[in-house]
């Protein structure tokens, strides 16, 4: 009879510890979501959903060796699913986007600032490269963890990362030269 209260106390402490662990990476989850979904509101919803799912399946997840990696994988998958369903609903509207020229002009003005321009370059990367770049350069995860999150081999992660960095390098050089030309 005396053991029951101690037991429940122990599980409660575990709960607290588990909560702390998943809340410790909520910012990383949010940044990954934002890099994919762009919308702040949608990214917050995504993080909330994933946190709730983690919390509900605490008993299963707490036994995993890398809870953080698992949480990031869930975030990534959740966002990719969202993008898929978004694409499906946007497909019908494609024909209405006829003023492409003016849109790109708007973007040019918007991204005149060089740092903002970098965000635009990052946004233009293929999804997988975007994820890998985000996990490495922003979140600073090691290759093993990135491989786990992306469900790729470490080699494939390095290749994707290298491609992303090289694409950005080319665009950065071009933007820099352009800045000099117009400046003089």
């Amino acid at each position: 009879m005396k053991q029951t209260p101690t037991k429940s106390l122990a599980t409660q402490m575990d709960k607290g510890a588990f909560l702390q662990r998943i809340l410790a990476i909520q910012d990383s989850m949010f940044r990954l979501a934002k890099s994919l979904l762009k919308s702040t509101e949608e990214s917050e919803d995504a993080v909330q959903e994933v946190l709730a799912k983690l919390w509900q399946n605490m008993n299963k997840i707490a036994t995993l060796s890398n809870i953080e990696g698992y949480a990031m994988t869930m975030t990534k998958n959740y966002c990719l699913d969202r993008l898929k369903s978004r694409q499906a609903s946007e497909l019908r509207l494609v024909h209405f986007k006829h003023d492409k020229a003016s849109a790109s002009l708007d973007k040019q003005i918007e991204y005149r600032d060089s740092v903002a321009q970098v965000f635009a370059f990052m946004e233009a990367l293929p999804k997988l490269q975007k994820i890998v770049l985000q996990l490495r350069d922003v979140e600073q995860y090691d290759f093993e963890t990135i491989a786990q999150i992306t469900e790729l081999s470490e080699g494939a992660v390095r290749v994707a990362l290298s491609r992303a960095r090289k694409t950005l390098q080319k665009k950065l050089i071009k933007a820099h030269q352009h800045g000099i030309e117009t400046g003089s």
Partner: protein, 143 residues
């Protein structure tokens, strides 16, 4: 740090071969003011990632409430829908005192029904004429 060394790191960085420690060194180099001309174009990138790292999740997660996942947005939507629903229900099912306009409309409606009835009678009369014409035609043809 020596310029040659930075170039070496950058080359390996582009190949995805640098370690996290080496990448920290690169970031530190690009965050100081004396960046070499030949490397200046990388600066916006390192500024951008440092800036992005500062982004925080501003939502809040409450594990007690999350046993049933109801985000605030969804909750408001449901609440708004049910309020509208109750309002509509009241409008349709709770009997109300008819306004003078409604009484007038009802009176007008009954009058129009009476007019329509008379018109229908007239229509039946016209139908007789049709039959008459038919028989006349029959008569003409047989002759």
């Amino acid at each position: 740090m020596e310029l040659k060394q930075v170039h070496k790191y950058i080359d390996r960085y582009l190949e995805g071969e640098t370690s996290l420690e080496e990448e920290d060194v690169l970031e530190a180099y690009f965050s100081q003011p004396n960046i070499d001309e030949t490397l200046l174009h990388y600066k916006p990138y390192f500024t951008a990632i440092a800036q992005q790292r500062k982004q925080r999740f501003t939502g809040s997660f409450n594990p007690v409430k999350s046993t049933k996942i109801i985000s605030l947005k969804r909750f408001t939507a449901v609440a708004a829908a049910s309020i509208v629903g109750v309002f509509v229900w009241q409008q349709t099912f709770v009997p109300q005192q008819p306004s003078p306009e409604e009484i007038a409309f009802e009176a007008f409606k009954t009058k129009m029904y009476l007019v329509a009835e008379q018109l229908n009678k007239g229509k039946q009369g016209v139908a007789y004429i049709d039959t008459f014409n038919e028989t006349t035609n029959k008569y003409l043809k047989t002759e």
